[in-house]
């Protein structure tokens, strides 16, 4: 009897093994380093929120693809009035939210009005600042009126914080996100994992995966064995850089180095003496050797930049040669500023490897021209209050990951304390310019001003280090926005 049971069990097992060999897998476990504080992209700035929900759970009128291009999202197509002020979006029909309620133009009006309202807590409220009116013309048509032509409006509507939510469920999205996307939340075991399952009622092309689990792996050393054991099959951005060579030589994994929108810069407090002198900033730029910093702070993978612009984006101008690494020249600049004996300053470093490692290299490089840096490690919370809000700093290293954010140098009160009317004019013109070629030209002008005027020393573009099972297809190579879009991800055999 017992023998029969054993034989039967063995037969069942081998049958199960055989069937699973025929059908491709439909589940995926991804590792993420930081847990999102909640799952509402319209209420929090944490990048992890977008990583999990963008394109998977929530969708916007437009969407950004892997290459940073604008694609139709919930809007099938759109027309723009001749003066560039009125956008008329034609919406997809048959779209349903995860709670079964129907999506219509009213939801778009609700979402945009909510984001731009006086009491809005949308973390990217500035994206909606130029909207003066949103009208639901009919259930499938929305008219958005702007106060002037906006060059990046369609892009902005595809950003993470611009996703469309429903009136009835918006307030509960932090814990129970209700979107229109191809995946819906199954459960969130806090501190452990977030599981999404396929939305059977999705209006568009259904996802290939039935289930996707985002597992939180905070420790870089733990990420490698998690991959090797097969517990986790993908890291969109892998934290363990030291183990990269090992993974690259392992045929079971694909290692894909992509670009991000993260300009990693040595930010300067431009109002604080002696950094208010151009010559001092030029001295810093000339004393710094980018390749050594890139080697130490991003395993040699980051791309050098000479201005605040991603090398992967249209309109990029290579300005890394404006201030080449030249110690003699750097000392000359210091002399010009009357500081030939050097000076002392502090550098506040947030708790990320690129800053902590890069800061040490910069400290030793600046020492060669007599600039003595005292390193002050800070937490993010301290960085935000001391450096970003109170501007109580000399130098700091940080990666600005927001896409197309060259305008931050024109923002009044921004922590760089940089104020250049010439630059501000260019940005103002850029804001209202819709013509593509004109925009790219203006972006070039803006990049050049920053490269020469050194409101910050531009170091490198943060790389995205994707590592996943070699049988997995459709993961994003680049991070034009921080999103782990799983809509096209599938297993092959």
């Amino acid at each position: 009897m017992k023998l029969w049971k054993t034989i039967l069990a063995a037969a069942v097992l081998s049958l199960a093994a055989a069937t699973s060999a025929f059908a491709a897998r439909t589940d995926l476990t991804l590792g993420i380093v930081l847990e999102p504080p909640h799952l509402d992209p319209t209420a929090g700035a944490a990048a992890a929120i977008g990583e999990v929900t963008y394109a998977n759970v929530f969708e916007g009128l437009t969407r950004i693809d892997d290459n940073g291009q604008v694609q139709p999202g919930l809007a099938e197509n759109w027309t723009v009035s001749d003066d560039g002020k009125v956008y008329t979006f034609k919406l997809h029909s048959g779209v349903k939210f995860h709670d079964g309620s129907a999506f219509s133009a009213d939801d778009v009006k609700f979402s945009l009005d909510r984001a731009r309202a006086k009491d809005s807590l949308n973390p990217q409220k500035q994206l909606f600042a130029h909207i003066t009116d949103v009208t639901a013309v009919d259930p499938a048509t929305v008219k958005v009126t702007l106060d002037g032509p906006q060059g990046s409006f369609l892009y902005d509507m595809g950003q993470v914080a611009a996703v469309i939510v429903a009136k009835g469920s918006a307030d509960g999205n932090k814990d129970k996100p209700i979107g229109t996307g191809p995946f819906k939340l199954d459960h969130w075991a806090k501190g452990s994992e977030i599981t999404l399952v396929k939305n059977p009622d999705y209006w568009g092309t259904p996802a290939a995966l039935d289930k996707a689990t985002f597992r939180i792996v905070p420790d870089a050393a733990a990420a490698v064995p998690a991959l090797l054991s097969g517990d986790i099959q993908a890291f969109a951005n892998m934290p363990a850089q030291d183990a990269l060579a090992q993974l690259q030589s392992d045929p079971r994994f694909s290692v894909v180095i992509g670009s991000t929108e993260g300009e990693t810069i040595l930010s300067i407090n431009n109002k604080k003496p002696p950094f208010d002198k151009l010559a001092v900033r030029q001295a810093l730029a000339s004393a710094i050797d980018r390749s050594a910093i890139i080697a130490a702070a991003s395993n040699g993978l980051g791309k050098p930049i000479g201005s605040h612009f991603s090398p992967g984006d249209a309109g990029y101008v290579d300005l890394t040669g404006v201030y080449p690494h030249d110690l003699a020249k750097a000392k000359e600049y210091l002399k010009e500023a009357g500081l030939e004996n050097g000076f002392s300053a502090t550098i506040k470093l947030p708790p990320v490897p690129y800053a902590r490692d890069g800061g040490q290299v910069i400290q030793s490089q600046l020492k060669e021209i007599g600039v003595n840096l005292q390193i002050i490690p800070v937490e993010w919370a301290e960085w935000l209050s001391q450096v970003f809000t109170n501007k109580d700093y000399d130098l700091t290293i940080v990666s600005h990951v927001e896409p197309n954010d060259i305008d931050i140098y024109s923002r009044p009160g921004y922590y760089f304390q940089y104020d250049n009317p010439k630059f501000n004019d260019v940005i103002e013109e850029l804001g209202t310019t819709v013509d593509k070629d004109k925009r790219l030209k203006l972006l070039g002008v803006a990049q050049k001003i920053l490269a020469h005027d050194v409101p910050a020393v531009y170091l490198f573009e943060l790389p995205k280090i994707g590592v996943w099972d070699a049988k997995l297809q459709g993961m994003w190579t680049n991070w034009p926005i921080e999103a782990d879009d799983l809509t096209k991800v599938k297993w092959t055999d």
């Binding site: 409220k125 452990s192 064995p225 935000l384 209050s385 001391q386």
Partner: protein, 315 residues
Amino acid sequence: MTAYLLKRIIIAALTLVLASMVVFAVMEILPGDPARLMLGLNASADQIEMLRNQMGLNTPLVLRYLHWAGGLLSLDFGRSYTYSVPVIELVRERIAVSLPLALIALALSTIIAVPVGVFSASRQGRAGDTLAMGAAQLGVAVPNFWFALMLIYLFAVWLHLVPAGGFPGWGAGIWTALKSLLLPAIALALPQAAILARVARSALIEVLNEDYIRTARAKGLPYRAVLWRHALRNAMIPVLTILGLQFAFLLAGTIIIENVFYLPGLGRLIFQAITQRDLIVVESIVMLLVTAVILINLLVDFSYAIVDPRLRGRQ
């Protein structure tokens, strides 16, 4: 006895009040604004101010302390700023991992340490003792995250016996859940066992040199009986003290091991709450832990009385 108990309870209550003030003050002094952390770099000053009002951060400090402390008295631990769920819910989820993990690790550590201690003490100075204590020295010296990684590579990556990390939840079945706690428990237990074994050994050696042990041997009791029944029982007090301290540590001080195995335990919750300036979560959990430590110490005191009847009559 009643007077003693009353005194203990009053001291415990005072400790709690004092701890609550210190914890609250320390968290308030920490630089950083939870509202700015939530809304990020692009939020305007107005928005930050609005969120601060919503979270009640703009009410005066004393009022906020009284509100929080009053809530604690009625077992209301407040709501997390970041997760926006009641703190007690977060704690309940994490305790479901941390408590079993601590208990398993403690049991493992005791099961290993006491026999090793007894073995070493009874062979004091001989090769077995030297070997055992050498191993214990190694156990104290080896960094536990490294040991944990070695365990992961051996049992998860190579042998595929257990998952490399994570916790599936008790809903996934007791055996599945236990399996994922096994390696972390071993990684936690080993250094604790090493310390405990050394304490047990030295306590036992001291007792073995007492006159009454010689008397017991002289009246003809076999060595084993003397060792296990008389000596060990008397050597338990320092062992229990250390066990109590270790248990308190294992409940919340295991952040490194929790990170290596990405377990959703209490230690990681506190760490995360500190970095996100989720003040209310930190404050409430620290108070819970203070309470737990005080209770454990009381329990240890009572257990002294159990192992040493002489203590029952005193005070």
